[in-house]
Amino acid sequence: MSATTLTAAPRRRISPALRRLVRHRLAMFGLLILVLLVLACAIGPSLVPYGPLAVDLRHRFQPPFAGPHLLGSDPLGRDQFIRLLLAGRISLLVGFFAMALSTVTGVFVGLAAGFYGGWFGAALMRLVDAALCFPAVFLLLTLAAMVSPGVLTITLIVALTSWMEVARVVEGLVRSLRERDYVVAAKAIGVSDAHLMLRELLPNVMAPIVVAATLNVARAILLESYVSYLGYGIQPPTPSWGNMLNNAQQYLDTAPWLAILPGAAITLAVTGFNFLGDGLRDALDPRMELRP
């Protein structure tokens, strides 16, 4: 083997998965939706000539594409487009940070439980089981009723109800990988437990974690919408997709666009993340390599 093939070689480990992901139409479609959504929410608001709270009483209940407000206006004449985009910022941020927090928590709990096992691992996993027993939405509502709602608290609460699955996935994998030769071999050169967990085991369970994390974003966005829709989440006048739906429900027959637009935004974001998650799951599955 010549030097040139070898220097190029180290990349090859990542690229088959990446290639499979790029070939996955649904995943790419999901990614496209998400990129557009994120770009729109990040840049869009500065291009719209209205503030999110600017009341325009001459144009109340304006339908989309029928007046100065591109996507219509709400009962107070506030511009629907900018509110959608700013709500998107909130929802996506809550979704992302709740995912990050729940994934990190789940990974640490799963690693510790799987690596140490014994009564310690069993106790941690029974805690996970107990947390899984609560119906997430009711737990969410109970918690939200007790603390003052805000972006930070909602993120924390959503994270608190969605770390368990990651923990279970990681625990199961770590328990099976812990006895692998390379882990014992690493131990034989004298590395610490933390090193074994974070450097030897964690990289080998990254694939399912990435998949679970992606799907967790979708779930977090959905959960935030539930809670906000029910009035316990992000509080008006700060817009979120969920509380926009809440405002819209009494005008459902006269101004349906008020509900349809945030509903569509939630659907787009959640579908985008789910498509991407499914694609990642397929792409990162090494058994896919065997198939044509």
Binding site: P10, R12, Y182, A185, A186, A188, S192
Partner: protein, 330 residues
């Protein structure tokens, strides 16, 4: 010469549903500086468990019980706190594993895996450790070490991976190297290269090697002393040349008879291997008498089925566990 590693009465038992299963029963030996001691025996004779017990790598699973003493210099490996043991692993006592295919972490470049040991045990920058890792790869005979250091394990062949494992084990210049069947998974030409490499490195660094194998050909190549193990016990211990010339225990003779030799083919026109009939007894139901008796061609109900024979000295350097060794000696 005082021994570097002295193991006294090492016992390992595993607990399962049926009760205590003895895997290693009272193994004792001494390993001198710069010397190679081979532990020979067929599968499930307790060789690897002995090695793992010395490295204290058995302890994680519940139900494992290790007793005995293992003095490395003046520290007892068996009673050392886990943190101190971690300091010793890799630095004073290193191990090469049997399976080069599975003993390297698939997600790390091999250079990093070699550098890891140095980073753990020595005050050294990552850059210096990487440089050292590249030098080690060159030392174990890997061409273009700087390029190969950046490769992932799956990009290397079995022989190369075993060399990487050896480089990993040697990174901190251990005083004792435990090699658990390091050549079993490799083909014969590569085997010879690896043995040669271990011998050369031993000459250069003066380390002691505990070599675990089931291959007597390898033993003849590399070992100064041999320990023959059968069903968890040492059944014969002698200097290599002595054992090969005058094996006393029927089991050792059986092992030698089952080594394929090209001369057999040349002299008799066909290769005939003399197999030892039967299989090693299940450790759960080891016979109370000599454990080899059921398979032994020299077995007489008295004394062989009366009691477990002791390991007794035949000469000053040669010990054997057989009740009839005097009668059957040739």
């Amino acid at each position: 010469m005082s021994a570097l590693l002295t193991v006294t009465d090492l016992c390992v038992t595993f607990r399962d549903e049926g009760g205590e299963v003895p895997a290693v029963e009272g193994v004792s030996f001494a390993l001198n500086p710069g010397e190679t001691l081979a532990i020979v025996g067929e599968s499930s004779s307790g060789k690897s468990v002995t090695a793992l017990a010395l490295m204290r790598l058995l302890g994680q699973s519940p139900g494992v019980n290790v007793s005995g003493r293992a003095m490395l210099g003046d520290v007892d490996l068996m009673t050392l706190p886990e943190r101190k043991m971690a300091e010793i692993r890799g630095r004073d006592l290193a191990m090469i594993f049997q399976e080069p295919m599975t003993s390297l972490n698939p997600v790390h470049r091999v250079g990093n895996q070699i550098a890891e040991g140095l980073l753990v045990h020595e005050r050294i920058t990552r850059r210096a450790a990487m440089k050292h890792a590249t030098a080690l790869l060159a030392q174990v005979g890997i061409p273009e070490p700087a390029v190969r250091a950046r490769a992932f394990p799956h990009q290397l062949s079995g022989g190369m991976r075993q060399r990487v494992m050896i480089a990993m084990a040697l990174a901190c210049r251990p005083r004792v190297l435990i090699a658990d069947e390091p050549t079993t998974a490799l083909d014969v030409t590569v085997q010879a290269q690896i043995l040669d490499l271990i011998r050369t490195l031993q000459r250069d660094t003066g380390m002691s090697v505990l070599f675990i194998t089931h291959n007597l050909g390898v033993v003849a190549e590399i070992a100064d002393h041999v320990l023959v193990m059968y069903s968890g016990q040492v059944v014969e211990a002698a200097p290599t040349s002595e054992l090969l010339r005058r094996p006393l225990m029927p089991y050792s003779r059986g092992l030698m008879g089952s080594v394929p030799l090209l001369e057999h083919v040349r002299h008799r026109g066909q290769a005939r291997l003399i197999a030892i009939p039967g299989a090693i007894p299940d450790p759960r139901v080891r016979p109370p008498h000599c454990t080899f008796a059921p398979r032994c061609t020299h077995m007489r109900p008295d004394p062989c089925k009366r009691a477990r024979p002791n390991l007794e000295p035949a000469t000053a350097e040669h010990a054997v566990r057989c009740a009839r060794w005097r009668e059957i000696a040739v």
